[in-house]
Protein backbone atom coordinates (compact mmCIF):
# COMPACT_ATOMS: atom_id res chain seq x y z
CA UNK A 1 0.00 0.00 0.00
CA UNK A 2 1.18 3.48 -0.82
CA UNK A 3 2.22 5.70 2.04
CA UNK A 4 -0.44 8.26 2.90
CA UNK A 5 0.31 11.54 1.17
CA UNK A 6 1.21 14.41 3.40
CA UNK A 7 -1.57 16.95 3.71
CA UNK A 8 0.14 19.21 6.16
CA UNK A 9 -0.46 22.20 3.88
CA UNK A 10 -4.12 21.84 4.80
CA UNK A 11 -3.85 23.37 8.24
CA UNK A 12 -6.64 24.74 10.32
CA UNK A 13 -6.74 28.54 10.25
CA UNK A 14 -4.68 30.32 12.86
CA UNK A 15 -7.06 31.73 15.42
CA UNK A 16 -4.50 33.09 17.84
CA UNK A 17 -5.13 30.40 20.41
CA UNK A 18 -2.22 28.24 21.41
CA UNK A 19 -2.49 24.45 21.41
CA UNK A 20 -3.88 23.24 24.72
CA UNK A 21 -5.67 26.49 25.58
CA UNK A 22 -9.43 26.65 25.89
CA UNK A 23 -11.02 27.04 22.45
CA UNK A 24 -14.66 26.62 23.42
CA UNK A 25 -16.09 27.14 26.85
CA UNK A 26 -19.72 26.29 27.56
CA UNK A 27 -20.83 27.59 30.95
CA UNK A 28 -23.97 26.55 32.85
CA UNK A 29 -26.10 26.04 29.78
CA UNK A 30 -29.75 24.96 30.08
CA UNK A 31 -32.11 24.30 27.20
CA UNK A 32 -35.73 23.26 27.23
CA UNK A 33 -38.51 22.78 24.71
CA UNK A 34 -41.77 23.77 26.26
CA UNK A 35 -41.74 21.81 29.50
CA UNK A 36 -39.16 19.24 28.39
CA UNK A 37 -35.67 19.85 29.68
CA UNK A 38 -33.10 18.76 27.12
CA UNK A 39 -30.01 20.13 28.85
CA UNK A 40 -29.72 21.10 32.50
CA UNK A 41 -26.89 23.30 33.71
CA UNK A 42 -24.05 21.78 31.75
CA UNK A 43 -20.55 23.23 31.62
CA UNK A 44 -17.82 21.81 29.46
CA UNK A 45 -14.81 23.05 27.57
CA UNK A 46 -12.90 21.99 24.49
CA UNK A 47 -9.16 22.57 24.31
CA UNK A 48 -7.45 23.58 21.13
CA UNK A 49 -6.07 20.59 19.25
CA UNK A 50 -7.81 17.83 21.21
CA UNK A 51 -10.43 15.25 20.29
CA UNK A 52 -13.29 15.62 22.73
CA UNK A 53 -15.98 12.98 22.90
CA UNK A 54 -19.52 13.50 24.16
CA UNK A 55 -21.20 10.23 25.08
CA UNK A 56 -24.33 9.12 26.83
CA UNK A 57 -27.40 6.93 26.41
CA UNK A 58 -30.10 7.81 23.88
CA UNK A 59 -31.93 11.00 24.73
CA UNK A 60 -29.15 12.26 26.98
CA UNK A 61 -29.00 15.61 25.18
CA UNK A 62 -25.87 15.05 23.11
CA UNK A 63 -27.20 16.28 19.79
CA UNK A 64 -28.95 19.16 21.54
CA UNK A 65 -25.53 20.10 22.95
CA UNK A 66 -24.03 20.23 19.44
CA UNK A 67 -27.02 22.22 18.23
CA UNK A 68 -26.44 24.73 21.00
CA UNK A 69 -22.74 24.99 20.17
CA UNK A 70 -23.33 25.79 16.51
CA UNK A 71 -26.25 28.11 17.10
CA UNK A 72 -29.13 25.99 15.79
CA UNK A 73 -30.76 26.20 19.21
CA UNK A 74 -30.44 29.13 21.56
CA UNK A 75 -30.14 28.09 25.21
CA UNK A 76 -32.40 29.80 27.76
CA UNK A 77 -29.64 30.02 30.37
CA UNK A 78 -25.86 30.09 30.18
CA UNK A 79 -23.03 31.52 28.11
CA UNK A 80 -20.85 30.17 25.36
CA UNK A 81 -17.34 31.50 24.83
CA UNK A 82 -15.73 30.59 21.56
CA UNK A 83 -12.28 31.86 20.64
CA UNK A 84 -12.35 34.15 23.69
CA UNK A 85 -15.53 35.82 22.43
CA UNK A 86 -18.75 35.48 24.36
CA UNK A 87 -21.97 35.07 22.47
CA UNK A 88 -25.55 34.45 23.38
CA UNK A 89 -27.62 33.89 20.29
CA UNK A 90 -26.66 33.74 16.66
CA UNK A 91 -27.80 32.32 13.38
CA UNK A 92 -26.32 28.95 12.34
CA UNK A 93 -24.77 30.43 9.22
CA UNK A 94 -22.89 32.88 11.41
CA UNK A 95 -21.36 30.00 13.37
CA UNK A 96 -19.71 28.85 10.17
CA UNK A 97 -18.21 32.28 9.69
CA UNK A 98 -16.67 31.96 13.17
CA UNK A 99 -15.08 28.63 12.33
CA UNK A 100 -17.48 25.92 13.50
CA UNK A 101 -18.41 23.15 11.07
CA UNK A 102 -20.35 19.98 11.67
CA UNK A 103 -21.70 16.73 10.30
CA UNK A 104 -25.07 15.21 11.11
CA UNK A 105 -26.46 12.11 12.73
CA UNK A 106 -28.61 11.40 9.67
CA UNK A 107 -26.55 12.34 6.65
CA UNK A 108 -27.55 15.84 5.57
CA UNK A 109 -26.01 16.10 2.12
CA UNK A 110 -27.43 17.89 -0.89
CA UNK A 111 -28.74 14.81 -2.65
CA UNK A 112 -29.18 16.26 -6.11
CA UNK A 113 -25.60 17.50 -6.35
CA UNK A 114 -22.36 15.68 -7.15
CA UNK A 115 -19.69 14.92 -4.54
CA UNK A 116 -17.56 17.71 -5.95
CA UNK A 117 -20.41 20.24 -5.78
CA UNK A 118 -21.30 19.18 -2.25
CA UNK A 119 -17.81 19.83 -1.02
CA UNK A 120 -17.56 23.03 -3.06
CA UNK A 121 -20.80 24.16 -1.41
CA UNK A 122 -18.91 23.99 1.88
CA UNK A 123 -16.71 26.77 0.61
CA UNK A 124 -19.59 29.06 -0.43
CA UNK A 125 -18.92 31.36 2.49
CA UNK A 126 -15.32 31.91 1.48
CA UNK A 127 -16.14 32.77 -2.12
CA UNK A 128 -16.81 36.42 -2.59
CA UNK A 129 -17.09 37.24 -6.30
CA UNK A 130 -20.40 38.88 -7.06
CA UNK A 131 -23.05 37.88 -9.53
CA UNK A 132 -21.70 40.26 -12.19
CA UNK A 133 -18.46 38.31 -12.53
CA UNK A 134 -20.29 35.02 -11.99
CA UNK A 135 -22.50 35.44 -15.02
CA UNK A 136 -19.54 36.19 -17.26
CA UNK A 137 -17.48 33.26 -15.90
CA UNK A 138 -14.34 35.20 -16.66
CA UNK A 139 -11.54 36.90 -14.73
CA UNK A 140 -11.91 36.99 -10.95
CA UNK A 141 -14.86 34.61 -10.81
CA UNK A 142 -13.10 31.89 -12.79
CA UNK A 143 -9.87 32.43 -10.87
CA UNK A 144 -11.69 32.12 -7.56
CA UNK A 145 -13.55 29.02 -8.71
CA UNK A 146 -10.28 27.33 -9.69
CA UNK A 147 -8.48 28.27 -6.48
CA UNK A 148 -11.22 26.71 -4.43
CA UNK A 149 -11.45 23.73 -6.73
CA UNK A 150 -7.77 23.03 -5.98
CA UNK A 151 -8.43 23.07 -2.25
CA UNK A 152 -11.43 20.80 -2.68
CA UNK A 153 -9.41 18.37 -4.79
CA UNK A 154 -6.93 18.15 -1.91
CA UNK A 155 -9.75 17.16 0.40
CA UNK A 156 -11.03 14.65 -2.15
CA UNK A 157 -7.53 13.13 -2.33
CA UNK A 158 -7.27 13.08 1.43
CA UNK A 159 -10.56 11.24 1.87
CA UNK A 160 -9.85 8.92 -1.08
CA UNK A 161 -13.07 9.67 -2.91
CA UNK A 162 -11.64 10.66 -6.32
CA UNK A 163 -13.65 8.00 -8.12
CA UNK A 164 -17.03 9.39 -7.03
CA UNK A 165 -16.21 13.03 -7.76
CA UNK A 166 -18.96 13.38 -10.37
CA UNK A 167 -21.53 11.01 -8.86
CA UNK A 168 -24.72 12.51 -7.42
CA UNK A 169 -24.43 11.83 -3.69
CA UNK A 170 -27.97 10.47 -3.49
CA UNK A 171 -26.72 7.40 -5.35
CA UNK A 172 -23.76 6.71 -3.03
CA UNK A 173 -23.75 4.03 -0.32
CA UNK A 174 -24.15 5.24 3.24
CA UNK A 175 -20.51 4.91 4.25
CA UNK A 176 -19.32 7.04 1.36
CA UNK A 177 -22.01 9.62 2.04
CA UNK A 178 -20.66 10.00 5.57
CA UNK A 179 -17.22 10.51 4.11
CA UNK A 180 -18.45 13.15 1.67
CA UNK A 181 -20.16 14.89 4.55
CA UNK A 182 -16.88 14.95 6.45
CA UNK A 183 -15.29 16.38 3.32
CA UNK A 184 -17.85 19.15 3.16
CA UNK A 185 -17.21 20.06 6.79
CA UNK A 186 -13.44 20.05 6.20
CA UNK A 187 -13.89 22.32 3.19
CA UNK A 188 -15.13 24.98 5.58
CA UNK A 189 -11.64 24.99 7.17
CA UNK A 190 -13.11 25.01 10.67
CA UNK A 191 -11.16 25.58 13.84
CA UNK A 192 -13.73 23.43 15.63
CA UNK A 193 -15.24 20.40 13.91
CA UNK A 194 -18.39 18.85 15.37
CA UNK A 195 -19.12 15.25 14.36
CA UNK A 196 -22.50 13.80 15.24
CA UNK A 197 -22.14 10.01 15.25
CA UNK A 198 -19.65 9.82 12.37
CA UNK A 199 -19.66 6.02 12.51
CA UNK A 200 -23.32 5.20 13.00
CA UNK A 201 -24.49 2.36 10.80
CA UNK A 202 -21.04 1.51 9.46
CA UNK A 203 -19.35 -1.88 9.26
CA UNK A 204 -16.01 -2.55 10.92
CA UNK A 205 -13.91 -1.72 7.88
CA UNK A 206 -15.70 1.57 7.27
CA UNK A 207 -15.31 2.43 10.95
CA UNK A 208 -11.58 1.85 10.74
CA UNK A 209 -11.34 4.09 7.68
CA UNK A 210 -13.35 6.82 9.34
CA UNK A 211 -11.28 6.63 12.56
CA UNK A 212 -8.14 7.01 10.49
CA UNK A 213 -9.55 10.09 8.74
CA UNK A 214 -10.58 11.66 12.03
CA UNK A 215 -7.15 11.08 13.55
CA UNK A 216 -5.43 12.41 10.42
CA UNK A 217 -7.61 15.51 10.39
CA UNK A 218 -6.74 16.09 14.03
CA UNK A 219 -3.02 15.42 13.73
CA UNK A 220 -2.10 16.67 10.26
CA UNK A 221 -4.41 19.66 10.08
CA UNK A 222 -4.47 20.42 13.79
CA UNK A 223 -8.27 20.69 13.77
CA UNK A 224 -10.00 20.54 17.11
CA UNK A 225 -12.78 17.93 17.10
CA UNK A 226 -15.81 17.35 19.29
CA UNK A 227 -17.64 14.15 18.48
CA UNK A 228 -20.63 12.13 19.57
CA UNK A 229 -20.32 8.38 19.20
CA UNK A 230 -21.96 5.27 20.55
CA UNK A 231 -19.19 2.80 19.76
CA UNK A 232 -17.27 2.78 23.05
CA UNK A 233 -14.21 1.13 21.56
CA UNK A 234 -13.87 3.92 19.04
CA UNK A 235 -14.48 6.62 21.61
CA UNK A 236 -11.90 5.29 24.06
CA UNK A 237 -9.26 4.90 21.34
CA UNK A 238 -9.77 8.20 19.58
CA UNK A 239 -10.52 10.78 22.19
CA UNK A 240 -8.31 12.73 24.53
CA UNK A 241 -11.10 13.57 26.95
CA UNK A 242 -14.66 12.33 27.34
CA UNK A 243 -17.73 13.98 28.80
CA UNK A 244 -20.71 11.82 29.73
CA UNK A 245 -24.28 13.11 29.68
CA UNK A 246 -27.37 11.44 31.08
CA UNK A 247 -30.90 12.87 31.16
CA UNK A 248 -29.52 16.26 30.15
CA UNK A 249 -27.05 16.40 33.02
CA UNK A 250 -23.29 16.00 33.05
CA UNK A 251 -22.31 12.95 35.09
CA UNK A 252 -18.62 12.59 34.32
CA UNK A 253 -15.78 14.38 32.57
CA UNK A 254 -12.17 13.34 32.10
CA UNK A 255 -9.71 11.10 30.26
CA UNK A 256 -11.20 7.89 28.76
CA UNK A 257 -9.72 5.51 31.35
CA UNK A 258 -11.03 7.52 34.25
CA UNK A 259 -14.51 7.83 32.76
CA UNK A 260 -14.65 4.14 31.94
CA UNK A 261 -14.37 3.22 35.61
CA UNK A 262 -16.70 5.92 36.93
CA UNK A 263 -19.57 4.33 38.86
CA UNK A 264 -22.18 6.90 37.67
CA UNK A 265 -21.29 6.17 34.06
CA UNK A 266 -21.60 2.44 34.52
CA UNK A 267 -24.98 2.94 36.24
CA UNK A 268 -26.22 5.20 33.43
CA UNK A 269 -25.33 2.66 30.78
CA UNK A 270 -26.65 -0.33 32.67
CA UNK A 271 -29.79 1.54 33.64
CA UNK A 272 -29.97 1.90 37.41
CA UNK A 273 -33.30 3.50 38.33
CA UNK A 274 -33.04 7.16 39.31
Amino acid sequence: MNPRPDHSQLVAPDDGIARGDVLLDVRNVSLSFGGVKAITDISLNVLKGEIRAIIGPNGAGKTSMLNVINGFYTPQVGTIIFRRKERCSMKPHEAVGQGIARTFQNVALFKGMSTLDNIMAGRSVMMKRNIGWQMLWRGPALKEEIEHREKVEEIIDFLEIQHIRRTPVGKLPYGLQKRVELGRALAMEPSLLLLDEPMAGMNLEEKEDMSRFILDVNQQRGTTIALIEHDMGVVMDLSDRVVVLDYGKKIADGPPDEVKNNQDVIDAYLGVPH
Partner: protein, 358 residues
Protein backbone atom coordinates in the same frame (compact mmCIF):
# COMPACT_ATOMS: atom_id res chain seq x y z
CA UNK B 1 -18.32 5.51 -32.15
CA UNK B 2 -18.47 9.18 -33.03
CA UNK B 3 -19.27 10.34 -29.56
CA UNK B 4 -16.22 9.40 -27.53
CA UNK B 5 -14.97 11.19 -24.48
CA UNK B 6 -11.98 8.89 -24.13
CA UNK B 7 -8.69 10.50 -25.00
CA UNK B 8 -9.82 14.01 -24.14
CA UNK B 9 -7.66 14.66 -21.08
CA UNK B 10 -7.75 17.81 -19.04
CA UNK B 11 -4.45 19.07 -17.72
CA UNK B 12 -5.78 22.12 -15.88
CA UNK B 13 -8.86 22.76 -13.78
CA UNK B 14 -9.52 25.67 -16.10
CA UNK B 15 -10.01 23.28 -19.01
CA UNK B 16 -12.24 21.14 -16.80
CA UNK B 17 -14.36 24.20 -16.04
CA UNK B 18 -14.96 24.99 -19.71
CA UNK B 19 -18.58 25.31 -20.78
CA UNK B 20 -18.34 22.11 -22.79
CA UNK B 21 -15.57 19.88 -21.47
CA UNK B 22 -16.49 17.31 -24.12
CA UNK B 23 -15.56 18.33 -27.65
CA UNK B 24 -18.57 16.74 -29.32
CA UNK B 25 -20.96 18.79 -27.18
CA UNK B 26 -19.35 21.98 -28.39
CA UNK B 27 -19.67 20.79 -31.99
CA UNK B 28 -23.32 19.95 -31.42
CA UNK B 29 -24.04 23.37 -29.97
CA UNK B 30 -22.27 24.91 -32.95
CA UNK B 31 -24.60 23.04 -35.29
CA UNK B 32 -27.68 24.20 -33.35
CA UNK B 33 -26.45 27.79 -33.41
CA UNK B 34 -25.82 27.61 -37.16
CA UNK B 35 -29.33 26.28 -37.61
CA UNK B 36 -30.76 29.08 -35.48
CA UNK B 37 -28.71 31.94 -36.89
CA UNK B 38 -28.35 30.92 -40.55
CA UNK B 39 -30.51 28.04 -41.72
CA UNK B 40 -33.87 28.95 -40.12
CA UNK B 41 -33.81 32.61 -41.20
CA UNK B 42 -33.05 31.55 -44.77
CA UNK B 43 -35.80 28.96 -44.97
CA UNK B 44 -38.57 29.93 -42.54
CA UNK B 45 -41.81 31.49 -43.72
CA UNK B 46 -43.54 34.43 -42.06
CA UNK B 47 -45.92 31.93 -40.42
CA UNK B 48 -43.05 29.84 -39.08
CA UNK B 49 -41.43 32.90 -37.49
CA UNK B 50 -44.63 34.13 -35.86
CA UNK B 51 -46.20 30.83 -34.87
CA UNK B 52 -43.16 28.73 -34.02
CA UNK B 53 -39.69 30.23 -33.83
CA UNK B 54 -40.30 33.48 -31.95
CA UNK B 55 -42.74 32.02 -29.38
CA UNK B 56 -40.45 29.05 -28.75
CA UNK B 57 -37.60 31.42 -27.92
CA UNK B 58 -39.69 33.65 -25.68
CA UNK B 59 -41.35 30.77 -23.83
CA UNK B 60 -37.94 29.15 -23.38
CA UNK B 61 -36.66 32.31 -21.76
CA UNK B 62 -39.65 32.56 -19.43
CA UNK B 63 -39.28 28.90 -18.47
CA UNK B 64 -35.56 29.44 -17.90
CA UNK B 65 -36.41 32.22 -15.47
CA UNK B 66 -38.90 30.01 -13.66
CA UNK B 67 -36.41 27.15 -13.62
CA UNK B 68 -33.92 29.31 -11.73
CA UNK B 69 -36.46 29.66 -8.96
CA UNK B 70 -38.18 26.28 -9.02
CA UNK B 71 -35.64 23.92 -10.56
CA UNK B 72 -32.47 25.31 -8.99
CA UNK B 73 -33.57 27.05 -5.79
CA UNK B 74 -36.54 24.73 -5.14
CA UNK B 75 -39.17 27.43 -4.57
CA UNK B 76 -42.30 26.49 -6.50
CA UNK B 77 -43.95 29.48 -8.16
CA UNK B 78 -47.39 29.58 -9.75
CA UNK B 79 -47.22 33.30 -10.54
CA UNK B 80 -44.86 33.46 -13.52
CA UNK B 81 -47.47 35.01 -15.80
CA UNK B 82 -47.96 38.01 -13.53
CA UNK B 83 -44.21 38.65 -13.34
CA UNK B 84 -44.08 38.53 -17.13
CA UNK B 85 -46.83 41.13 -17.00
CA UNK B 86 -44.78 43.38 -14.71
CA UNK B 87 -41.93 43.26 -17.22
CA UNK B 88 -44.25 44.02 -20.13
CA UNK B 89 -46.06 46.92 -18.44
CA UNK B 90 -42.78 48.36 -17.13
CA UNK B 91 -41.30 48.27 -20.62
CA UNK B 92 -44.45 49.86 -22.05
CA UNK B 93 -44.36 52.71 -19.52
CA UNK B 94 -40.64 53.29 -20.06
CA UNK B 95 -41.13 53.50 -23.82
CA UNK B 96 -44.13 55.85 -23.48
CA UNK B 97 -42.45 58.15 -20.95
CA UNK B 98 -39.06 58.16 -22.70
CA UNK B 99 -39.83 57.56 -26.38
CA UNK B 100 -36.16 58.11 -27.26
CA UNK B 101 -34.96 55.30 -25.02
CA UNK B 102 -33.14 52.46 -26.73
CA UNK B 103 -35.33 49.35 -26.70
CA UNK B 104 -32.53 47.17 -25.30
CA UNK B 105 -32.04 49.59 -22.41
CA UNK B 106 -35.78 49.64 -21.80
CA UNK B 107 -35.88 45.84 -21.76
CA UNK B 108 -32.94 45.61 -19.37
CA UNK B 109 -34.54 48.17 -17.05
CA UNK B 110 -37.98 46.58 -17.14
CA UNK B 111 -36.35 43.40 -15.85
CA UNK B 112 -35.39 45.30 -12.71
CA UNK B 113 -39.02 46.24 -12.09
CA UNK B 114 -40.19 42.66 -12.25
CA UNK B 115 -37.19 41.58 -10.17
CA UNK B 116 -38.11 44.06 -7.45
CA UNK B 117 -41.72 42.90 -7.42
CA UNK B 118 -40.43 39.32 -7.40
CA UNK B 119 -38.32 39.97 -4.32
CA UNK B 120 -41.27 41.57 -2.51
CA UNK B 121 -43.45 38.54 -3.18
CA UNK B 122 -40.47 36.31 -2.38
CA UNK B 123 -40.23 37.68 1.16
CA UNK B 124 -42.84 35.22 2.51
CA UNK B 125 -40.59 32.37 1.34
CA UNK B 126 -38.43 33.06 4.38
CA UNK B 127 -41.28 31.95 6.64
CA UNK B 128 -43.45 29.82 4.38
CA UNK B 129 -42.36 26.62 2.72
CA UNK B 130 -43.52 24.08 0.20
CA UNK B 131 -47.18 24.07 -0.81
CA UNK B 132 -47.99 27.05 1.32
CA UNK B 133 -45.43 29.06 -0.63
CA UNK B 134 -46.81 27.80 -3.95
CA UNK B 135 -50.21 29.12 -2.95
CA UNK B 136 -48.65 32.35 -1.72
CA UNK B 137 -47.23 32.97 -5.20
CA UNK B 138 -50.82 32.83 -6.45
CA UNK B 139 -51.39 35.92 -4.32
CA UNK B 140 -48.93 37.72 -6.56
CA UNK B 141 -50.64 36.28 -9.61
CA UNK B 142 -54.14 37.49 -8.76
CA UNK B 143 -53.17 40.77 -7.18
CA UNK B 144 -50.91 41.88 -10.04
CA UNK B 145 -53.38 40.98 -12.79
CA UNK B 146 -56.05 42.91 -10.87
CA UNK B 147 -53.64 45.84 -10.69
CA UNK B 148 -52.99 45.69 -14.45
CA UNK B 149 -56.74 46.02 -14.96
CA UNK B 150 -57.52 48.72 -12.43
CA UNK B 151 -54.49 51.00 -12.59
CA UNK B 152 -55.31 52.95 -15.76
CA UNK B 153 -51.97 54.83 -15.66
CA UNK B 154 -50.28 51.55 -16.57
CA UNK B 155 -52.00 51.41 -19.95
CA UNK B 156 -51.96 55.18 -20.54
CA UNK B 157 -55.71 55.48 -19.89
CA UNK B 158 -56.58 53.72 -23.17
CA UNK B 159 -60.29 53.22 -23.59
CA UNK B 160 -59.65 49.58 -24.51
CA UNK B 161 -57.57 48.90 -21.41
CA UNK B 162 -54.98 47.22 -23.63
CA UNK B 163 -51.39 48.20 -24.35
CA UNK B 164 -50.41 48.69 -28.00
CA UNK B 165 -46.79 48.43 -29.05
CA UNK B 166 -45.71 51.41 -31.17
CA UNK B 167 -43.14 51.13 -33.95
CA UNK B 168 -39.73 51.09 -32.31
CA UNK B 169 -36.43 51.51 -34.11
CA UNK B 170 -33.16 49.97 -33.01
CA UNK B 171 -30.28 51.77 -34.76
CA UNK B 172 -32.49 52.56 -37.74
CA UNK B 173 -34.14 49.14 -38.04
CA UNK B 174 -37.73 48.67 -36.91
CA UNK B 175 -37.73 45.84 -34.37
CA UNK B 176 -41.13 46.19 -32.72
CA UNK B 177 -44.59 47.38 -33.67
CA UNK B 178 -46.83 46.70 -36.66
CA UNK B 179 -44.16 47.64 -39.22
CA UNK B 180 -41.43 45.33 -37.90
CA UNK B 181 -40.51 42.43 -40.22
CA UNK B 182 -40.64 38.99 -38.63
CA UNK B 183 -37.07 38.07 -39.49
CA UNK B 184 -35.70 41.15 -37.70
CA UNK B 185 -37.77 40.37 -34.64
CA UNK B 186 -36.56 36.80 -34.70
CA UNK B 187 -32.89 37.84 -34.74
CA UNK B 188 -33.49 40.39 -32.01
CA UNK B 189 -35.16 37.84 -29.74
CA UNK B 190 -32.59 35.18 -30.57
CA UNK B 191 -29.67 37.42 -29.56
CA UNK B 192 -31.27 38.40 -26.25
CA UNK B 193 -32.23 34.82 -25.42
CA UNK B 194 -28.72 33.54 -26.22
CA UNK B 195 -27.11 36.22 -24.08
CA UNK B 196 -29.37 35.66 -21.06
CA UNK B 197 -29.04 31.88 -21.37
CA UNK B 198 -25.26 32.24 -21.34
CA UNK B 199 -25.47 34.33 -18.16
CA UNK B 200 -27.82 31.91 -16.45
CA UNK B 201 -25.66 28.89 -17.32
CA UNK B 202 -22.69 30.61 -15.73
CA UNK B 203 -24.58 31.64 -12.62
CA UNK B 204 -26.06 28.20 -12.09
CA UNK B 205 -22.77 26.33 -12.40
CA UNK B 206 -20.83 28.56 -10.02
CA UNK B 207 -21.02 29.42 -6.36
CA UNK B 208 -24.50 30.92 -6.55
CA UNK B 209 -25.90 27.92 -8.39
CA UNK B 210 -24.48 25.58 -5.75
CA UNK B 211 -26.01 27.68 -2.99
CA UNK B 212 -29.40 27.56 -4.71
CA UNK B 213 -29.22 23.80 -5.16
CA UNK B 214 -28.13 23.39 -1.55
CA UNK B 215 -31.20 25.33 -0.38
CA UNK B 216 -33.37 23.21 -2.68
CA UNK B 217 -31.98 19.87 -1.54
CA UNK B 218 -31.91 20.54 2.22
CA UNK B 219 -32.38 24.00 3.54
CA UNK B 220 -31.42 23.28 7.14
CA UNK B 221 -28.13 21.70 6.11
CA UNK B 222 -27.50 24.61 3.76
CA UNK B 223 -27.86 26.99 6.66
CA UNK B 224 -25.48 24.93 8.74
CA UNK B 225 -22.74 25.05 6.09
CA UNK B 226 -22.93 28.80 6.32
CA UNK B 227 -25.35 29.69 3.53
CA UNK B 228 -27.53 32.67 4.38
CA UNK B 229 -30.98 31.37 3.48
CA UNK B 230 -32.58 34.77 3.24
CA UNK B 231 -30.04 36.22 0.84
CA UNK B 232 -29.90 33.07 -1.26
CA UNK B 233 -33.66 32.72 -1.65
CA UNK B 234 -34.20 36.38 -2.39
CA UNK B 235 -31.37 36.34 -4.92
CA UNK B 236 -33.12 33.45 -6.65
CA UNK B 237 -36.37 35.42 -6.71
CA UNK B 238 -34.48 38.43 -8.06
CA UNK B 239 -32.65 36.65 -10.87
CA UNK B 240 -35.67 34.54 -11.76
CA UNK B 241 -38.08 37.48 -11.91
CA UNK B 242 -35.54 39.52 -13.85
CA UNK B 243 -35.38 36.93 -16.61
CA UNK B 244 -39.13 36.29 -16.49
CA UNK B 245 -39.79 40.05 -16.71
CA UNK B 246 -37.64 40.41 -19.81
CA UNK B 247 -39.39 37.39 -21.30
CA UNK B 248 -42.71 39.13 -20.59
CA UNK B 249 -41.58 42.35 -22.26
CA UNK B 250 -40.39 40.40 -25.31
CA UNK B 251 -43.67 38.45 -25.26
CA UNK B 252 -45.65 41.66 -25.81
CA UNK B 253 -43.19 43.84 -27.72
CA UNK B 254 -41.63 41.34 -30.11
CA UNK B 255 -44.44 38.84 -30.52
CA UNK B 256 -48.03 39.73 -29.56
CA UNK B 257 -47.83 43.45 -30.41
CA UNK B 258 -50.65 44.20 -27.95
CA UNK B 259 -51.79 42.86 -24.61
CA UNK B 260 -54.63 43.03 -22.15
CA UNK B 261 -54.30 42.31 -18.45
CA UNK B 262 -55.89 38.86 -18.65
CA UNK B 263 -53.19 37.71 -21.08
CA UNK B 264 -50.96 37.37 -18.01
CA UNK B 265 -53.48 35.34 -16.03
CA UNK B 266 -53.16 31.81 -14.64
CA UNK B 267 -53.11 29.97 -18.01
CA UNK B 268 -49.88 31.73 -18.99
CA UNK B 269 -48.28 30.92 -15.62
CA UNK B 270 -49.23 27.29 -16.06
CA UNK B 271 -48.02 27.08 -19.64
CA UNK B 272 -44.59 28.28 -18.53
CA UNK B 273 -44.61 25.90 -15.57
CA UNK B 274 -45.46 22.98 -17.87
CA UNK B 275 -42.61 23.88 -20.20
CA UNK B 276 -40.25 23.81 -17.24
CA UNK B 277 -41.63 20.49 -15.93
CA UNK B 278 -41.78 18.69 -19.26
CA UNK B 279 -38.39 20.08 -20.24
CA UNK B 280 -36.85 19.17 -16.91
CA UNK B 281 -36.53 21.06 -13.66
CA UNK B 282 -32.98 22.02 -12.85
CA UNK B 283 -31.83 22.01 -16.45
CA UNK B 284 -31.15 24.79 -18.93
CA UNK B 285 -31.47 22.70 -22.07
CA UNK B 286 -34.86 21.36 -20.95
CA UNK B 287 -36.56 24.75 -21.21
CA UNK B 288 -35.87 24.87 -24.91
CA UNK B 289 -36.99 21.30 -25.51
CA UNK B 290 -40.13 21.85 -23.45
CA UNK B 291 -40.98 25.09 -25.25
CA UNK B 292 -40.60 23.40 -28.63
CA UNK B 293 -42.99 20.67 -27.53
CA UNK B 294 -45.63 22.97 -26.02
CA UNK B 295 -45.57 25.47 -28.89
CA UNK B 296 -45.52 22.85 -31.62
CA UNK B 297 -48.20 20.59 -30.10
CA UNK B 298 -51.30 22.61 -31.12
CA UNK B 299 -49.84 23.14 -34.59
CA UNK B 300 -49.33 19.40 -34.95
CA UNK B 301 -52.79 18.56 -33.57
CA UNK B 302 -54.49 20.87 -36.03
CA UNK B 303 -52.38 20.03 -39.07
CA UNK B 304 -52.00 16.23 -38.83
CA UNK B 305 -55.74 15.30 -38.97
CA UNK B 306 -56.13 17.88 -41.71
CA UNK B 307 -53.51 16.08 -43.75
CA UNK B 308 -55.59 12.91 -43.41
CA UNK B 309 -58.69 14.77 -44.55
CA UNK B 310 -60.24 15.13 -41.08
CA UNK B 311 -60.08 18.82 -40.26
CA UNK B 312 -60.87 19.59 -36.61
CA UNK B 313 -62.59 22.72 -35.42
CA UNK B 314 -60.35 25.17 -33.61
CA UNK B 315 -62.25 24.60 -30.36
CA UNK B 316 -61.68 20.85 -30.59
CA UNK B 317 -57.99 21.45 -31.26
CA UNK B 318 -57.77 23.61 -28.17
CA UNK B 319 -59.55 21.05 -25.98
CA UNK B 320 -57.45 18.20 -27.33
CA UNK B 321 -54.35 20.30 -26.78
CA UNK B 322 -55.14 20.93 -23.11
CA UNK B 323 -56.02 17.27 -22.59
CA UNK B 324 -52.84 16.00 -24.21
CA UNK B 325 -50.69 18.44 -22.27
CA UNK B 326 -52.28 17.22 -19.04
CA UNK B 327 -51.67 13.60 -20.01
CA UNK B 328 -48.11 14.40 -21.09
CA UNK B 329 -47.31 15.97 -17.74
CA UNK B 330 -48.55 12.91 -15.88
CA UNK B 331 -46.71 10.62 -18.28
CA UNK B 332 -43.48 12.53 -17.87
CA UNK B 333 -43.72 12.57 -14.10
CA UNK B 334 -44.20 8.80 -14.11
CA UNK B 335 -41.66 7.85 -16.76
CA UNK B 336 -39.01 10.51 -16.26
CA UNK B 337 -39.56 13.13 -13.57
CA UNK B 338 -36.51 14.98 -14.82
CA UNK B 339 -38.10 15.67 -18.17
CA UNK B 340 -36.86 15.83 -21.72
CA UNK B 341 -33.43 17.03 -20.64
CA UNK B 342 -32.84 13.71 -18.86
CA UNK B 343 -33.84 11.83 -22.01
CA UNK B 344 -31.08 13.66 -23.82
CA UNK B 345 -28.62 12.83 -21.03
CA UNK B 346 -29.54 9.15 -21.28
CA UNK B 347 -29.16 9.17 -25.06
CA UNK B 348 -25.80 10.88 -24.66
CA UNK B 349 -24.57 8.23 -22.24
CA UNK B 350 -25.64 5.53 -24.67
CA UNK B 351 -23.91 7.31 -27.53
CA UNK B 352 -20.66 7.51 -25.60
CA UNK B 353 -20.62 3.73 -25.28
CA UNK B 354 -22.15 2.88 -28.64
CA UNK B 355 -21.79 0.40 -30.31
CA UNK B 356 -20.87 -1.52 -27.15
CA UNK B 357 -23.61 -2.35 -24.64
CA UNK B 358 -21.51 -1.38 -21.57
Amino acid sequence: MFYRTAGQFKTTYQADHALFPVRQDAVLLGIVLILAFVVFPLTASEFAFRALLIPVLIYSLAALGLNVLTGYAGQLSLGTGAFMGVGAYACYKLISIFPEMNIVVALALSGFFSATVGVIFGLPSLRIKGFYLAIATLAAQFFLVWLFQKWAWLYNYNASGAIQVPNIDFFGITVAGPRAPAIVQYYFVLCIVCLLTFFIINITRGRIGRMWKAVRDMDIAAELVGINLMKTKLLAFFVSSYVVGIAGALFVFLWRGAAEANLFDIPLSFRVLFIAIIGGLGSVLGNFLGAILIVALPVVISSVPEAFGLPLSSATVEHLNIMIIGALIIAFLIVEPHGLARFWAVIREKLILWPFPH
